[in-house]
Amino acid sequence: MEAELKVFIREAGVFLFMAFFPFITSLLSYCAGMALTGGQVTPAQWFYQLVGFTVMMVAFAMSSSSAWYFRRGMMTGRLEYILASPVSPLVAVLSSALTNVIFNIVYFILIASIGLVLVYGIGHLVNVIGVILFLAITLMPVIGFNLLVGIATIIFREPEPVTNVINSIVSAASGFTYPIILLPSFLQALGQAMPYSYIVNGAREILAGSFQLAQLSPQIFLLGYLALGLVFFRLGEVAYVRKSGVHW
């Protein structure tokens, strides 16, 4: 896990690009909104977009991290060495996923704080603490997704087809840049069944200071994704051993 963190930190260039991206896109859509509505767009709406884009980046990174972990492991021969060690691959990939959660929370907080100060002033910065806790909990179901994609990568060898499908569904249905009530009903249902729309809305409300703890309780069902992910990961492992004769 330390190793993973160090790797992340050494990729500072990519990090900077990732940090700029939500600012640029949200600014673009803010300006476009300004032009279209003749200046009726508020900074709060820019903030809405900023948070949306950032969570989207986090969601993409999170949904494919295990997949890439395995893929890189296969390409570099690291995976075989892990398999030949006493550590189970599930533990290894989970620690990599948790590293990702930490990294992504830091990433989100950085961007959100800048936006928060610009739009609401320094005073709202305390809300950031709430968001850290909120994300730490709500990103857990995403780890479930993450494991699903991971084991699919082991079985089918290439992560892209799976991650591309998941990412496009997620980005369409999760209300990153517009409320999901605007969506056709089946996409809405899909969006509500997945954890991302709750994450993005919750994060927005906490930061703006209008979040109630009671809102969290119906979302407990989302933790089922984590359980589901773990179960399918195990099933996938068994299937893979049968198919390939690899001692997983």
């Binding site: 330390e2 160090k6 570099t76 021969g77 690291r78 398999l83 004769g245 001692h247």
Partner: protein, 316 residues
Amino acid sequence: MNAITCEDLRKFFRAKVKRSFFSREDSLIRALDGVSLGVERGVVFSLVGPNGAGKTTMVKILSTLLIPDGGRAEVGGYDVVKQANHVRRIIGLVLAPDKGFYTRLTGIENLVYYGRLYGLSKEEAVKKAEQLLELTGLGADGARLYEEYSLGMRAKLSIAKALINDPEIVFLDEPTIGLDPLSARRIRSLIKDLATQGMTVFMTSHNMWEVEALSNTVAVIKSGKIVAEGSPAELKERLRLSYRLEVEIIADKSPDINFPVTVGERGYPVVTMETDRPGEDLVKVIDEVRRLGYSVGGVRVLEPSLEEVLTRVLSR
């Protein structure tokens, strides 16, 4: 008790052979076809054989990476399938000497990472990693990024990685491939030292000279079957490999002598013969040369090499 035992080990792969865009045929490859062998503790055991013979497959089964399709194997007294986790704790492994590490981490960080996988604490892992860097001759290069490493440095790091958990048994698949002569020698003496300290080394190599210098036991594998096994000396003996005798005669033209004669590098005639008794035959040849009144320019007795053993065994 043996460090490694296997009985009738089998592993098949389904190879997809493309006939055309739409049709393909599945053919069965017998990567291991009934391998039985035993490796004593504290010896260097080498598995040699042509490309695709099944050496890597063997290493992967014994190091719990592949499940055999038949037969059974024990490493350190544990079954490689049913007690894989016990096996994993007591083995070290090098698969490809230039792979298996985080490129964006330094050598020592990579070693510490693997140390942690084997349950070492951070401090223990750092200490062990530093020792191993010294031992393999990487030393100060341990602080450099892996992506900058040369092939030889990578190979050394792989071996250091294989030793991070103080294993009882190490599996080395072609550990000295691509190393310069000095580095290769260093690794070889390291392998020898490990064995004298009681570690069991199971290695594969295509360098017969190296195998001969290092191994207590050699097994030759061909198409998934062991075709010969024994110490290098035993193998030569069993195949009745003969010595090669060369006696150079200082003369302008081929003398009238009762032995086969060729022309040597210096242009002089050279008596060249294969023999099982090099001492006796050498004296005979020299006596004959003297009797004819010539002087002897030089003498060479060539021992049969393991390479010849391999050539013979494989061409049968």
